[in-house]
């Protein structure tokens, strides 16, 4: 039940791919494994950030294909109270292109209504998509 044995038994699968003597010699390996664990912990937080960044890039690309910009799409979907998050929008844009196209059409309609209401007199009612429904 040596500590040395326990260390190698538990970490050999982790440090097989390390470079140089870090995969063989105890003192170097201990330091390398501790760094690796620290990097892994930091990366678990960073993974959520990079995932969201990738979703945003993909949704922006897909919306530009539909002649709409990403900020306009997100803001107008929010105004229509469509609560789809970026992960779902990204997956729709890849696997369900027609659904994504209809979402961009919805956002575009809401946007034109908003622009018309802002630039107009306020005499005519805004439009169908800007109607706010009350939950019973």
């Amino acid at each position: 039940m040596s500590l040395l044995g326990m260390f190698w038994n538990q970490t050999v699968c982790l440090l097989q791919h390390f470079r140089g003597r870090k995969n063989r010699c105890y003192s170097l390996a201990v330091r390398a494994v501790r760094r690796a664990f620290v990097y892994a912990s930091k990366a678990r937080k960073a993974k959520r950030r990079s995932m969201r960044q990738l979703w945003i890039q993909r949704v922006a690309a897909a919306s530009r294909e539909q002649h709409m910009k990403y900020p306009a799409l997100i803001h107008n979907l929010l105004k229509c109270s469509v609560a789809l998050n970026r992960r779902v929008l990204c997956d729709l844009s890849i696997t369900e292109p027609r659904s994504f196209q209809s979402l961009t059409a919805l956002a575009h309609a809401r946007r034109t209504e908003g622009l018309r209401a802002a630039l107009g007199d306020g005499a005519e009612p805004p439009g169908v998509f800007s109607r706010i429904t009350q939950l019973q």
């Binding site: 990738l54 690309a61 992960r87």
Partner: protein, 185 residues
């Protein structure tokens, strides 16, 4: 979901093959600002116009730019914009204006612009290899055969006065009515 797995790329069904294909795009740079052309090129070379984008996937397209000799800088940039280079040896600091650069090599301005707009990593060189620049609209046959799509020009070219018909010129509203004894030059 398949947000972060490359399984879609590993399956070799015919639909996936078509989605991940690299297409050849053409853009005409006649009377266009080189920066706008370069930004359109860099987006397509990285693959950022595709919803399946990932920085590691290498899904950029080929971009062919023709008529780079006829690009149009706005303002006084032909005389004021300076391209500097230094080889590292003492006394070898060269500064060329955009006009001189264009004289030396008609494709250099767009090439440098695209190079600066691509991400500064190891994939930049491969993306630059996928960019083809031609000073005139004479393209070699093998590239002509590969082309699939023409991209719209970023700037709408304004018409010259000589391109307006006499009817359009007469129909244009007068800004002021000159008095009877006014002499037009």
């Amino acid at each position: 979901m398949s947000s972060f797995s490359r399984s879609a790329q590993l399956f070799s069904s015919h639909k996936q093959w078509a989605t991940f294909a690299r297409s050849w795009l053409l853009i005409d740079a006649r009377m266009q600002p080189p920066g706008k052309i370069a930004s359109v090129c860099s987006v397509r070379l990285q693959g950022k116009h595709k919803p399946i984008y990932h920085p590691l996937s290498d899904i950029g397209d080929h971009v062919v730019v023709m008529n780079t000799r006829h690009i149009a800088f706005s303002g006084n940039k032909w005389e004021q914009k300076v391209y500097s280079s230094h080889t590292g040896y003492p006394g070898s600091f060269k500064q060329l204006t955009a006009a001189q650069m264009h004289q030396k090599d008609p494709t250099a301005i767009i090439k440098l612009a695209v190079y600066g707009m691509l991400p500064k990593n190891l994939t930049r060189r491969t993306m630059m290899q996928r960019l083809q620049l031609f000073p005139d609209d004479l393209l070699p046959d093998d590239i002509l055969r590969n082309l699939t799509e023409e991209l719209p020009q970023p700037r709408e070219i304004p018409r010259k006065l000589s391109e307006y018909t006499q009817e359009e010129r007469d129909a244009f509203p007068m800004l002021w009515t000159p008095p009877e004894d006014y002499r037009m030059k």
